[in-house]
Assembly symmetry: C2
Homo-oligomer: 217 residues x 2
């Protein structure tokens, strides 16, 4: 599989393709044309053909795409065919919400530990996994093969935490704290920042500009 | 302020500018050059100048940008200078996490109601707001001026819920359910979908392709 020269924009669309194809599979759909996929995804059919050609082009003239095959191939490209062990640091509402989201397990993200600084939470279980204290993380990481840490802790402590996690072997950070970690981790450590407030601001922008347009008409 | 012809890509970057400028303000920084902003945001300086020129260009040669002024102007463009009333539908962990996030209030998103279908939660308060039952939503919306509904309910019920909310006057949906609502709401209703699993898949892709590259070296 040749993945050279795939643009970031295409990579960004792959999870969406994967999600849509998953929905089609659930609905029992076995094959789909780029036109149908286009309508469902609100992306042009030629864009879809172009995107999927990046990965060797799984479509066949007059047949369309085999949904299961495409789903599996995109899953492989996304690394969803291997198991990644994950811990969650920060067992507040958001941390617990993510811990309870079983779909992550289905896609190969196996939750192996949850940590918090609040002694009240010690031993409380989320989905069968007892919350442990944050100062036990280094020992835990020495004894367990963990690649991903999800950070649902306050902004103030997240840089030091990221630093400690990376020193103890964490390879990827899924960061919900309101700061970007990209600049503070060494090269080769993967950072994916989730900024929920930015999403709300986009909503606000769209709402406001729609209302302004209505007034001007 | 002329907002015509602003590309979606620019709009997408505005919340990031706003967040960075907010951090600078907190740190007491009064002015910043596009070069400094560029380094912090990992966007080229010419990109920053180009982006901000879209809004009349607030920079001055040899002085840079006035942080407070730029922050306020971008806030206005994003509609953050007016108050938007919001409800949360779904008071599970994720709904409660969002309800507890006070920064939203600071930016003009005022939480006025939380709803759930689970009778066990009736009357339980989150940040002083009692959880109400979902069947009371139509009456609530008739008596309160609410623009935004945050949807933290399962995928299975989200389409019907969106339909009911829109019929009762909701103008914007902030959707966390794992399905896109864009196709099911009427024109003019704003939808912002948050797909956390797609973010995790991007992380997985980056982690996997980094590891593949290491092996090939």
């Amino acid at each position: 599989m040749d993945e050279k020269g795939i643009s970031k924009a295409v990579i960004k669309r792959l999870p969406r393709y994967y999600r849509y194809l998953g929905e089609l599979l659930e609905a029992g759909v076995e094959r789909i044309s780029s036109n149908e996929l286009s309508e469902k995804m609100q992306v042009t059919a030629s864009q879809i053909r172009q995107d999927l050609n990046n990965f060797g082009g799984f479509g066949q003239q007059g047949y369309g795409y085999n949904v299961q095959y495409l789903y599996n191939e995109i899953g492989k490209i996304l690394g969803l065919d291997t198991v990644h062990n994950m811990i969650i640091v920060g067992a507040g509402n958001l941390g617990q919400a993510l811990a309870n989201y079983v779909n992550f397990e289905k896609r190969g993200f196996r939750l192996v530990g949850i940590f918090d600084a609040n002694p009240v939470l010690q031993g409380v279980s989320v989905r069968g996994i007892p919350i442990q204290m944050i100062d036990t993380i280094p020992e835990f990481l020495q004894n367990n093969d963990v690649e991903i840490a999800t950070l649902t802790i306050p902004k103030e402590s997240v840089v030091d935490m990221a630093d400690m996690l990376v020193k103890n072997g964490i390879r990827a950070l899924w960061n919900y704290a309101h700061t970007d970690l990209n600049l503070v981790v060494p090269d080769g450590v993967i950072v994916e920042n989730v900024h929920l407030s930015e999403s709300l601001m986009r909503l606000s922008y769209n709402l406001t500009s729609y209302e302004r347009n209505q007034k001007n008409q």
